[in-house]
């Protein structure tokens, strides 16, 4: 009896931590920075932080959906590299066609992953590994291994422009976060994807269109990754397929998991994901501003990941 009571108690504490831990951490880190970091409470600093976080958030939103279905997408960084290669290739035809082609490629790549996972039945980690290995190579082949400077003002505005004082990329990321939250919370598609992640077999038996939903989820993830590639290319003012999105899969997965979406699926936390991205960004910024070296930053990040997943673990092993 007492044993069960204790377990329940611990589970409740863990669940609370999983649900609100990331918010507590973000608030604590902001307070710490306000108190101890010079020039933290400035508009310029906030802009910099948000601009840096925007592409990661765009990728992490798609990743959150995929992880919600008990999957994972390792190819997002490679898809960003494809964007970085495609945009300069087609910018001659205008900003809109170039961006459209990059996004279409991302959508196709994602749908391809989805077909492998849902129809062929390959484990997500392997299915997306193939594109991770091949995708960046393809991007480099397309770009001839070159970094290409871009001068199209219409396109560069995506990276440096502002609307009402808010950077365009930040605005796009924020709108997408709201859209994704609505998708997960308010639509049949969202309910289905969560159900599939919770219990795929039961979802099949219940007659849900499992294959279609899974392909859709991976397609969205690919599309968002391509968009992130477009945004960072515009910000950089150059297409750099060798460097665009490098290790992005790790940052995105980390942010999603830290934000309370368990790797075991069946649950998607969009606001948590936003917080996860902000937390990782704040951690990095704090360490840099206090002149802690990169090495320490990486080791602390590793500890945060393990801590966050340790908390998430108890719920899944319920």
């Amino acid at each position: 009896m007492t044993d069960t009571a204790k377990t329940v108690d611990r589970t409740r504490a863990a669940r609370w931590l999983q649900e609100y831990g990331v918010y507590v951490a973000v608030v604590a880190l902001v307070l710490f920075n306000i108190a101890f970091t010079a020039n933290f409470l400035t508009v310029g600093n906030f802009r910099t932080q948000l601009i840096q976080a925007a592409p990661v958030l765009v990728v992490a939103l798609g990743m959150a959906l995929v992880i919600g279905t008990e999957g994972v997408d390792l190819s997002v960084g490679a898809v960003m590299a494809l964007s970085a290669a495609l945009v300069p290739l087609y910018l001659g035809y205008g900003t809109l066609p170039a961006v459209a082609i990059a996004l279409a490629a991302g959508l196709a790549a994602g749908a391809f992953n989805g077909v492998l996972v849902a129809r062929v039945g390959i484990q997500p980690i392997v299915a997306t590994l193939a594109l991770l290995v091949g995708g960046r190579g393809l991007a480099l082949v397309l770009a001839d291994g070159q970094l290409i400077q871009l001068h199209d003002p219409g396109f560069l505005a995506l990276g440096t422009g502002e609307v009402l004082g808010i950077p365009v990329s930040v605005l796009i990321a924020a709108v997408l976060a709201v859209l994704m939250a609505a998708l997960v919370g308010k639509t049949a598609f969202g309910r289905r994807l969560v159900a599939i992640g919770g219990n795929r077999r039961a979802s099949v038996l219940a007659g849900l269109p499992v294959t279609r939903v899974l392909i859709g989820v991976y397609a969205i993830c690919g599309l968002l990754a391509a968009l992130a590639g477009v945004l960072s290319t515009a910000r950089l003012g150059a297409g750099d397929p060798a460097d665009a999105g490098l290790l992005m899969e790790l940052s995105a997965i980390t942010a999603v998991v830290v934000g309370g979406t368990p790797l075991t699926g069946g649950r998607v936390r969009i606001l948590g994901t936003v917080m996860g991205v902000l937390l990782m960004q704040l951690v990095r910024a704090t360490l840099i501003k206090h002149n802690l070296p990169d090495s320490t930053a990486q080791m602390i990040q590793a500890a945060i990941i393990v801590g966050a997943v340790y908390v998430a673990r108890e719920r899944s092993s319920r």
């Binding site: 590994l129 290995v133 790797l263 070296p293 090495s295």
Partner: protein
């Protein structure tokens, strides 16, 4: 009444056997074909010098993939091997100022310790191996940067240090790393096939629940395979450092994916419970031959290497999957 089902059972057994052979020997057939074609198309491919190069290049990856095979058969995955490999190299070069033994044992100890932490976290807390080893990927890189003062220092192995011989020395024209890798793979194969530990590895990946019920030491098995993976990656790093005569900080990025690919190409299932060391060795051979052939073509962009590897991996897993389906659908 009993005849029909028995016949059907025999029939399905035969089909199972055939798909099993294809699943197991597909990679070997592919390797033989690739070597034959390369030999015909590129006269330089068959030269002794080139074969030596292929063997040497394969040996470092083979040592890492050996550990990865054990981990994957238990149903796990180790994403940290690339970072640990680089860390092992830096530690070996750093340690070489105190002589041969330190140069060899320091990387093995530290990398083994990282493997031990991976294993304990996976086995004792039930956390996903994927995430645990992802964290140690970051951690090992961080540690490497800290040791090399943010990557600004490259430790050289002192001139005349015996440790260099380990990477540069040759026997019958082939480098020592080739023999070390071959010996390790042989021992690994025997360990997997002929020992109680090997049985536990298969059982853990096949069905953890049943393995526990059978009284097998599941947790200990898991910890052991991650330690092996760490130690072997560290060793591969140390050998690379000996070969290059310095600890290079920028190597090993993405190597975990190479290692996983070759293991998968070699027929080991990522779902665990099935796999062979020989398959992994063949997978490594395929990877290196692809690389080598693309280099031979010369006019071909080296970036095609990863495109070809990715496509190849894709074909292999799709084939594997459809074969496994035929087997399951009896």
């Amino acid at each position: 009444m009993t005849a029909a089902p028995t016949m059907a059972a025999q029939d399905s057994t035969r089909r199972e056997l055939m798909t099993g052979v294809l699943q197991k020997q597909g990679a070997a057939i592919a390797l033989v074909l690739m070597v034959a074609v390369a030999w015909l198309l590129f006269p330089r491919f068959g030269s002794l010098d080139n074969l030596r190069d292929i063997a040497l290049q394969s040996s470092f990856l083979a040592i890492i993939a050996l550990g990865m095979t054990f981990v994957i058969i238990t149903g796990g995955i180790d994403l940290s091997v690339g970072s640990v490999y680089a860390l092992g190299g830096v530690l070996a070069a750093y340690g070489s100022q105190w002589g041969f033994l330190v140069a060899l044992l320091l990387p093995l100890a530290v990398c083994g310790l990282i493997g031990l932490i991976n294993g304990l976290l996976v086995a004792k807390t039930g956390m996903a191996p994927f995430i645990v080893t992802l964290a140690s990927l970051l951690f090992a890189r961080g540690l490497l940067l800290a040791i090399t003062s943010e990557g600004a220092t490259t430790y050289k192995i002192p001139e005349g240090e015996a440790f260099v011989e380990l990477g540069r020395g040759t026997l019958f024209g082939f480098g020592y790393p080739v023999f070390i890798a071959a010996a390790l793979c042989l021992v690994g194969g025997l360990l997997l096939r002929r020992t109680r530990f090997g049985q536990s590895v298969f059982a853990t990946g096949g069905s953890e629940q049943s393995a526990k019920l059978m009284g097998l030491p599941v947790a200990r098995t898991k910890v052991t395979v991650y330690v092996m993976s760490g130690v072997l990656s560290g060793l591969a790093g140390a050998l690379t450092a000996a070969y290059l005569q310095s600890g290079v900080t920028v190597i090993g990025v993405g190597l975990e994916l190479d290692a996983i690919s070759v293991v998968v190409i070699g027929g080991t299932l990522l779902t665990g419970g099935m796999g062979t060391i020989l398959g992994t060795v063949i997978g490594v051979g395929i990877r290196t031959v692809i690389q080598n052939v693309i280099n031979q073509i010369g006019t071909l962009d080296s970036n095609y290497q990863s495109v070809v590897s990715g496509a190849f991996l894709l074909v292999v897993v799709v084939l594997q999957r459809s074969l496994a389906r035929t087997t399951a659908r009896r």
